[in-house]
Amino acid sequence: MAEAVSRAHTSAHAVLEGPDINRALIRISHEILERTKGGEDVVLLGIPTRGVHLARRLAGHIRQFEGHPVPVGSLDITMYRDDLRTRPARPLGRTELPPDGIDDKTVVLVDDVLYSGRTVRAALDALNDLGRPRAVQLAALVDRGHRELPIRADYVGKNLPTSKSEIVKVYLEERDGRDAVLLLKEEDK
C-alpha cells in the first residue's frame, strides 16, 4: 500500500533493508511449504503492484527449495474497492490467472502492507468472481495493525506496531531500484 506522501516528514526510519526483505520472504516460503505439505496445489496471487513482485519472489524461492514451480498470478482489486467514490477513478491493474485457474487450489494472496484489511476484503470478493479455491490464505510483508475488518494474515514478514499518522512505504528492487521498508513519521501532529 504505497500511499502518496504529500505532507512534511521529519524522520524516515528504515524498518527492513536490502537482505532483510529476502530473509523474511525465504522464511515465508518455508512456512507456506510447511502449511501446505510441500506446496501442492498452491497458487500465489499478488495484489498489484508490489504484491505481484513479492509473489514472484516467493515462487522463485519455493522452486529453489522444492524443485517444482508454483503457479503465480496477479489479482487486481480496483473494481472491488469500497472507497472508489472518495477519489477520481483510478487506473486498473492487471488480473492474470495461471492457466490452470484457481478452482480447488490453495490460493495464497500476497500483498506488501496489511493495514485496514479492506484491500484483502476486496480481493476475496474478486476471487469469488474468478473461481472457487479450496482455501485462501494471506501473506503480507508488513503487518502494521489497525484492522477495520475481521481479517488476519497467515504469513507475516514483519509485525510493525505503528500509529495511524505514520506511513509505511515499501520499495522493491524490481520497481523502485532498491529493497527497503520505511516508516515515515510526521512532524508535529
Partner: protein, 310 residues
C-alpha cells in the same frame, strides 16, 4: 478527464490512452465465466435514444450492466416525446429520477451539449446528428491498437460519406490526438466544406491511397440522408469508392479493414472483404462493449467531480 464525453476533442492524449488502457484490462474480463463487476452498483445510467440504433444502444446497455449499474432505456418512440415534450423537459424528468449518467443519441447536432447544461450527471454522446460519435472513435482506436500495436504514425484511410458521418469526424479528431495520420477519401460532393480545417489530408482517389494505408475504414452510404444528387448512381459510387475483391487483393498483408456498421454489402464493401480475416467488423462490436465499460467506469467510478469543468 472531463465530466462529460461529448466530443472526441474533449479527450487529451493522456485521457484517450487511459481509456484504451482501461479497456485493455476490462477486455480480459469478457473471457471469464462471470463477466460482471460490482463497481457501479447503485448508479443509474439512462439510455436516451431519439434516433434508431441497435448496436450502440445494446452495447451501452451491456457495458453498464456488466458494471452492475441500473439501466433505464428510453426511446423516443412511444414516449412523451411523441406527444411533443421538449428535450429540456425530458432531461429534467430524468434528472428527477436521479440519473448518474445519460447516454444520448439525437438527430440534432449539439443536443448532448445542450443536455449537459441541464443535468447534474455525466452526459455521454452516443451520436448527435452529423456531428460526433466519440465512443465509436474510441472503440475503433482500441481495435486498431489491438491489431497493430501503437497508433503512432499509422496511416488510416477513411472512405465514404464524410459529409453525413459523425464517425468520421470523431475518428479524425481522436486519431490525430493519438498520433495517427488520417486521410479522408470521398467524392467532392460528400465532403463537408469545413474539411480543410480538420487535422487530416483529403483525397478523391481511393486506388492511389490504398497502397499507402495501414487501416482502411469504410463508411456506410447513408441512403436515408441521400436527399440530393451526391453521386450519379450507386453502381458508379461502388465502382469508384467501394472496397471490392480486386482492391482488397492489392492491400499489403496486415492491413486491416474496418466498418462501423451497419454495412451495405456489395455497395461500399464487398461481402467477401467484409468476411475476410483482415476485416475487424465483428471485433469492433465486441470491443464496443469493453470500450464503453471503460468510459462509464472512468466517468462514474470515482468521486463526483462536482462540475469541475463548468
Amino acid at each position: 478527464m472531463k465530466r462529460h464525453l461529448i466530443s472526441a476533442a474533449d479527450l487529451s492524449r493522456d485521457d484517450a490512452l487511459l481509456i484504451l488502457d482501461t479497456a485493455d484490462e476490462l477486455a480480459r474480463i469478457s473471457d471469464r465465466s462471470i463477466k460482471k463487476l460490482p463497481t457501479l452498483r447503485g448508479r443509474t445510467v439512462v439510455n436516451l435514444f431519439f434516433e434508431d440504433s441497435t448496436r450502440t444502444r445494446i452495447s451501452f446497455e451491456a457495458a453498464a450492466k456488466r458494471l452492475s449499474a441500473d439501466v433505464i432505456n428510453f426511446s423516443a418512440k412511444g414516449s412523451s416525446v411523441s406527444k411533443g415534450e421538449s428535450l429540456k423537459d425530458t432531461a429534467l424528468t430524468l434528472e428527477a429520477m436521479g440519473a448518474d449518467a445519460v447516454v444520448i443519441r439525437h438527430g440534432a447536432s449539439g443536443a448532448p451539449h445542450r443536455l449537459a447544461g441541464w443535468v447534474r450527471g455525466s452526459v455521454v454522446n452516443a451520436g448527435d446528428g452529423t456531428h460526433e460519435h466519440p465512443t465509436q472513435a474510441l472503440l475503433d482506436a482500441f481495435t486498431m491498437r489491438r491489431r497493430l500495436g501503437s497508433l503512432e504514425g499509422r496511416r488510416v484511410t477513411i472512405v465514404g460519406d464524410i459529409l453525413h458521418s459523425r464517425v468520421a469526424r470523431s475518428n479524425v479528431l481522436l486519431l490525430s490526438t493519438l498520433g495517427a495520420e488520417v486521410t479522408l477519401v470521398a467524392p467532392p460532393t460528400l465532403l463537408p466544406v469545413s474539411v480543410g480545417s480538420w487535422p487530416c489530408e483529403v483525397s478523391y482517389d481511393l486506388d492511389s491511397m490504398l497502397p499507402k494505408s495501414d487501416v482502411v475504414m469504410m463508411l456506410r452510404v447513408q441512403r436515408e440522408r441521400m436527399n440530393a444528387a451526391f453521386f450519379p448512381t450507386e453502381r458508379e459510387y461502388s465502382r469508384r469508392y467501394g472496397l471490392d475483391r480486386d482492391r482488397a487483393a492489392k492491400l499489403d498483408d496486415g492491413v486491416i479493414v474496418m466498418h462501423p456498421g451497419p454495412m451495405n454489402r456489395g455497395m461500399e464493401i464487398a461481402a467477401e472483404v467484409a468476411d475476410s480475416p483482415r476485416s475487424t467488423i465483428v471485433e469492433q462490436v465486441a470491443n464496443g462493449v469493453t470500450t464503453r465499460m471503460a468510459v462509464l467506469y472512468l466517468l462514474l467510478g470515482g468521486a463526483d467531480l462536482g462540475g469541475e469543468d463548468q
